[in-house]
Amino acid sequence: MNTINRDTVVAVFLLLMCGVFYGASFQIEQTSYGTIGADVWPRLILGVLFVLSAVYLFQSVRKGPGKTVTHEAGFLSRYRNAILCYGLFLAFLLTLEFLGMLLGGIAFVFLALSVLGERTPWQLAVHAMVAVVSVGAMWAIFTFALRVILPEGEILSIW
């Protein structure tokens, strides 16, 4: 049974975050120049954020657990696509140095489409084609037209 409101959890998280950042604000270097120290403005924001988070907490507690949004049972199925996409993007980032933008990008698009769409042989072929053509075209535009040096990766650099 849910005894706590989702907003309450978020408000508590925000308050804790304010505390962490407030603590980190003491690590900001103090200078002998400048009219206001570099720590003043962030502390001002944190003060405002703290007050707002406290109001948010108060509102959520007053709302009570009755208003709790219960998605727990279907949490994974509800957020499956988003979690998988973020996971794939993370894998793309972690392998970027090795695969490079072109191969990594193609792999990412192909996998993302195959995870999100249907996985029949025909659809997989379409996904592969879309991945190669779209990432290849973007890579070509940025490399040759806009002269951006995109990460080459270890595989392509061998060739």
Partner: protein
């Protein structure tokens, strides 16, 4: 002076390359605007990386093209399928779709396109004439006034963002906090880098923006498997021939409505943070009130389409006025535009138009020309839109995610920017799920630096905090900031609680003193008028015995345009 600047800008903008780029931008904007789930902000954000390699005028003209195209694109899907492409075209659907269902889709499209064009042209003219005047007023602003203006921009965004003002304000404060991470502009000291070198430079604006808006929006769009796998529009739209002449005749009979709606659009755009999603509803509402046949609204009448489309395109000009003259974004799209200007080393401020008139007028002229290009490319866009709607959302999402990664990398050629995109993509998605509006956060990120610099300047001149309330402009902005914070409650309880009857009179009476304090002749006259209006409202409400009447209007909320 105006003519000289326009001629100078003409030479800059009217070049084959720029016109082609603008046409491409307009076309992309039209298609993106027509696709439900794709916002204009997203289209402009995704265009930004392509402009890195272009000159300032080329890049900004392209983005203005996307902006104008996006505002007009929403009407296509709204009229043909009943689903507005963007929140700016919500009111267009009220009459555009019924008219299309009655067998006149060509006429509905024609009225929409021509109203968009005329609204845009009118606002372009106002942009060219009003922006320099507003910039002149802006030159009176001291750092106290600027700081209060930023506060006002943040509070009004938060208050218009939906029911929960606190969530909006928290999002704004989070944006300010994000902007404060990294080296500060005043002392050059690293903040909140938690011992890492990568965070010393802080987060680049573009990856934060793309992550918060585009990445999280795409994840939202593919959240449901069934929806993600369907074509973008199940209600298949059919190609139609736009009835230009009939549309022009219909608009000619509605010219007062067109001008009124355009002015509503411009005024809404000038207000910091209020965009096309609000102006189209406001203009529709006013058109209905002023109409001789209000009962026809919602059944497919031309007046409704004219009001909505003229207003939403005119909003763009209004938003550009504030951005160009004061350096404060008029809405979320112009917040992105401001980021683009900063990337191209252009910093809009009250002195910008005077210091760089050719560049400023090039932007104005690009906006003017983009409206013509919108008119010319609408037919091509309509065909392209019909093709794009057959693609399932998940395919677009996968490809755009890869494009986002390449685009943000191109900004500084560092992988850290793609990591920023990833983290802020997640943050944006979580915030959306928790019901936090993203617009105040974006404005916080954009305006954080401006607010801090001005606060520092103000305190460098004098440590007297009282100046924030004794300087007329600062007081003026603080007063409207307070009223904008109360606005959500006013909107919620209007017609139900007695105190709401005092909201407007109190606003008028409160704004009069700072205007009197400004001196001169016109401002005290305006102050006197405000006093008179406030007093008249109070007296008339007292005479009516403070009787409550439930409003019939549509509730106004800021949505991502």
């Amino acid at each position: 002076m105006l003519i000289e600047n326009v001629i100078g800008a003409f030479g800059e903008v009217v070049q084959i390359k720029i016109l082609l780029l603008m046409a491409l931008g307009v076309l992309s904007g039209l298609i993106a605007g027509a696709i439900p789930g794709f916002t204009i902000t997203m289209a402009v954000v995704l265009t930004l990386p392509f402009t890195f390699g272009l000159s300032t005028v080329e890049g900004l003209s392209t983005m203005i093209g996307v902006f104008v195209g996006g505002l007009s694109g929403g009407l296509m899907s709204g009229i043909l399928t009943g689903i507005p492409g963007t929140p700016s075209s919500v009111a267009t659907t009220f009459d555009g779709f019924p008219m299309a269902r009655k067998g006149r889709p060509g006429l509905a499209l024609g009225i929409g396109v021509w109203s968009s064009f005329l609204g845009g042209i009118l606002s372009a003219i106002l942009l060219m004439t009003l922006a320099p005047q507003l910039a002149r007023i802006g030159l009176e602003f001291g750092p106290w006034d600027y700081f209060s203006l930023v506060l006002f921009a943040l509070t009004i965004t938060a208050s218009l963002a939906g029911e929960n003002l606190v969530k909006g304000l928290i999002a704004g404060a989070l944006g300010l906090l994000v902007a404060s991470i990294g080296e500060d502009d005043i002392n050059g000291v690293a903040r909140f880098n938690f011992g890492t070198d990568t965070l010393k430079q802080g987060f680049a604006f573009l990856p934060v923006l793309v992550g918060l808006f585009a990445f999280s929006q795409l994840m939202n769009d593919v959240q449901d498997n069934t929806t993600a796998r369907k074509p973008l529009m199940e209600k298949g739209a059919k190609a139609v021939r736009v009835e230009h002449l009939a549309a022009l005749r219909a608009i000619a009979g509605n010219w007062i409505n067109l001008i009124r709606s355009s002015l509503i659009g411009v005024f809404t755009g000038i207000l910091p943070a209020a965009g096309g999603s609000i102006s189209n509803i406001l203009a529709y509402d006013q058109a209905k009130k002023a109409s001789k046949r209000p009962q026809d609204f919602g059944t497919g009448c031309a007046e409704g389409i004219v009001a909505s489309e003229a207003a939403n395109n005119a909003t763009a000009g209004g938003a550009l006025i504030t951005m160009m003259a004061l350096g404060i974004p008029g809405d979320i799209v112009t917040a992105v535009m401001l980021g683009a200007l900063l990337i191209h080393d252009v910093v809009p401020s009250p002195s910008f138009i005077g210091d760089q008139p050719v560049l400023a007028y090039s932007i104005f002229l690009a906006f003017f020309l983009a409206n013509f290009l919108m008119l010319g490319t609408q037919a091509i866009a309509l065909r392209a839109f019909l093709m794009v709607t057959r693609i399932p959302m998940y395919m677009l999402a996968g490809v755009i995610l890869a494009y986002c990664a390449i685009g943000v990398f191109a900004l500084h050629n560092v992988t850290f920017d793609i990591w920023t995109l990833f983290w802020f993509g997640m943050l944006g998605y979580v915030m959306r799920q928790l019901g936090f509006p993203l617009a105040p956060m974006i404005l916080g990120v954009v305006l954080g630096g401006i607010a801090e610099v001005n606060l520092s300047r103000a305190l460098a001149i004098s440590d007297d905090l009282g100046l924030f309330i004794t300087r007329p402009w600062s007081l003026f902005f603080l007063i409207i900031a307070i009223f904008s914070m109360v606005f959500p409650w006013y909107q919620k309880h209007r017609g139900r609680k007695i105190w709401t009857l005092g909201f407007l009179p109190a606003l008028c009476l409160s704004l009069a003193p700072p205007l009197f304090m400004m001196g001169g002749i016109p401002r005290p006259i305006v102050a006197g008028m405000l006093l008179a209006i406030g007093a008249w409202l109070l007296v008339s409400r007292h005479r009516q015995g403070w009787k409550l009447e439930l409003p019939e209007e549509h509730e106004v909320h800021l949505e991502e345009t």
